[in-house]
Amino acid sequence: MAYSEKVLDHYENPRNVGSFDKGDDSVGTGMVGAPACGDVMKLQIKVGKDGVIEDARFKTYGCGSAIASSSLVTEWVKGKRLDEAASIKNTQIAAELSLPPVKIHCSILAEDAIKAAVEDYRKKHGKDQTAKEKAA
């Protein structure tokens, strides 16, 4: 199958590969997918005191489109507030990477990974974080 240039670029030169310490309070970790389905994504965000995502890392087991989708969202979430990051839609990812219909599930997985990472961060910080976000 033919891949778009953007997919190939992210696949050849993935951005922000790696891991943060899961136990770090400023880190939110999202792990989605299953080996049985052929893809697993781990997305981590590092959130500043102001509730803005300072940095992101990913690791992905999956096809080229899955790797590209997760690489792309690590770039997109940086500098965004948590609610902004959580509102990224898979259709935006699919459009940016020109994913064919059979690869749409990769963009859905990337959207889920962001939501899971944000959720994990919020869980760590309880209610006061939500309150802080509202104030901001």
Partner: protein
């Protein structure tokens, strides 16, 4: 070295230039219809067709009169299975095959089920080989036919065709063998084997695509109901004007196979073993299927914690095939590897390397180095590899399936 490197010989082979040379005159010069009995054009091509038939017969050691030309293995299999089932349906309605067969067999069996036959799909052992007692216990009083492939197309394992032949003949059950992947790799002796029907194709053995043959034993006689009707060619079993140039090509390809097989297999085996030794230097690399009872040109490996499609993408300089069908619309891993009981991860992480006549030592060395670099890169990207390195047993993880 020319790129991409071709290591997909089980998908198809290059037509040997000597074979192509043999074919060309039958397109432009000797273009007569071999069924034309009234002039020299027909006599010439009829002679060529019979010469080719003799070469094919010589490779599998059968009587040349027992061979019927077809368009390839898929057609041969269809004719054998549907033809025998329809002819012998008053004798019984039960057929037996194996879960790891090629789709040409499995889909034909499904069609026969639709027509009212009952089919048993026997499981294989984790090494890909049949447990013969299990096969035997699947046979019934009303079983009319058993179909088993000689060499598996994905993992290259060789089934015990002589023993299965004895088992079937003793019970008066017809035995069909799909030998598409076996010609030129194994000594096939239809004089000794208790095989009643055997499907052959040219394009896996350096012949052209679009031609094959079906061996139909005459002693003891096997009857088939024709699936193609028309001019009554090929003893009425397969009507249609013979594709003379294709047939001449298959004959030449099989003649060369007989001459060169022994030396070629040893050369290919040495390269395959070198390829394997190089790959096994990496951690968590597994061979799929039994290694000893396997054709010399096949190596099917799972690179644990790396997904197959991304690996194929990484090795785009090398033409190989993945056991993971992610490239199609379905996300199912190979049904053959699943039948071996391989985990989803391993099934998704597999690559089939098949070497052949034109593979060079240099290409094998390049492949080893290239694969090692790429697997390492993809493992650095893989959360599963990270978890494995942290000592987490992935089978204990609760995944959110999607």
């Amino acid at each position: 070295m020319k790129f991409p490197i071709y290591l997909d010989y089980s998908a198809t082979t290059r037509v040997d230039p000597r074979v192509a040379q043999k074919m060309i005159p039958f397109l432009t010069e000797h273009y007569g219809n071999p069924a034309s009995r009234s002039h020299a054009f027909g006599w010439k091509t009829e002679e060529a067709v019979e010469e080719a038939r003799a070469h094919v017969a010589a490779l599998v050691r059968c009587d040349e009169k027992d061979l019927v030309w077809t368009s390839g293995a898929t057609e041969s299999i269809n004719l054998a299975l549907k033809g025998a089932a329809e002819f012998y349906k008053t004798k019984g309605k039960h057929l037996v095959t194996v879960k790891t067969e090629h789709k040409a067999t499995l889909d034909t069996m499904r069609e026969l089920e639709r027509r009212g036959f009952e089919v048993t799909y026997v499981e294989v052992q984790p090494d890909g080989l049949l447990d013969l007692t299990k096969l035997e216990s699947s046979l019934r009083k009303d079983t009319i036919l058993v179909s088993v492939m000689y060499v598996n197309n994905e993992i290259g394992v060789i089934q015990d065709i002589p023993a299965i032949g004895e088992m079937c003949r003793k019970r008066g059950i017809l035995f069909h063998v799909d030998a598409a992947q076996a010609t030129g790799k194994l000594d096939i002796d239809l004089q000794a084997l208790k095989v009643d029907l055997m499907s052959l194709t040219a394009h896996k053995t350096y012949g052209p695509k679009g031609v094959g043959a079906l061996y139909v034993r005459r002693k003891p006689r096997v009857r088939l109901e024709a699936q193609m009707h028309g001019g009554g060619h090929e003893r009425g079993l397969r009507s249609g004007t013979l594709a003379t140039h294709q047939i001449a090509g298959m004959g030449e390809a099989f003649r060369l196979a007989k001459l060169e097989m022994a030396a070629e297999n040893e050369r290919v085996r040495a390269m395959r073993d070198k390829l394997m030794a190089g790959m096994k230097q990496m951690e968590e690399v597994f061979v799929n299927g039994d290694l000893a009872r396997r054709v010399p040109h096949n190596l099917n490996l799972s690179f644990n914690f790396v997904e197959g499609e991304s690996l194929i993408m990484a090795v785009k300089d090398i033409a190989v095939s993945s056991g993971s069908a992610c490239t199609s619309a379905s996300l199912e891993p190979s049904y053959v590897l699943r039948a071996l009981g391989r985990s989803d991860e391993l099934a998704h992480s597999s690559i089939r390397f098949t070497l052949g006549r034109f593979t060079t030592q240099e290409e094998v060395d390049y492949t080893v180095n290239h694969l090692r670099t790429k697997v390492e890169k993809l493992r650095d990207l893989s959360p599963l590899w990270e978890m494995h390195k942290d000592g987490i047993d992935l089978s204990t993880v609760q995944w959110a399936a999607h």
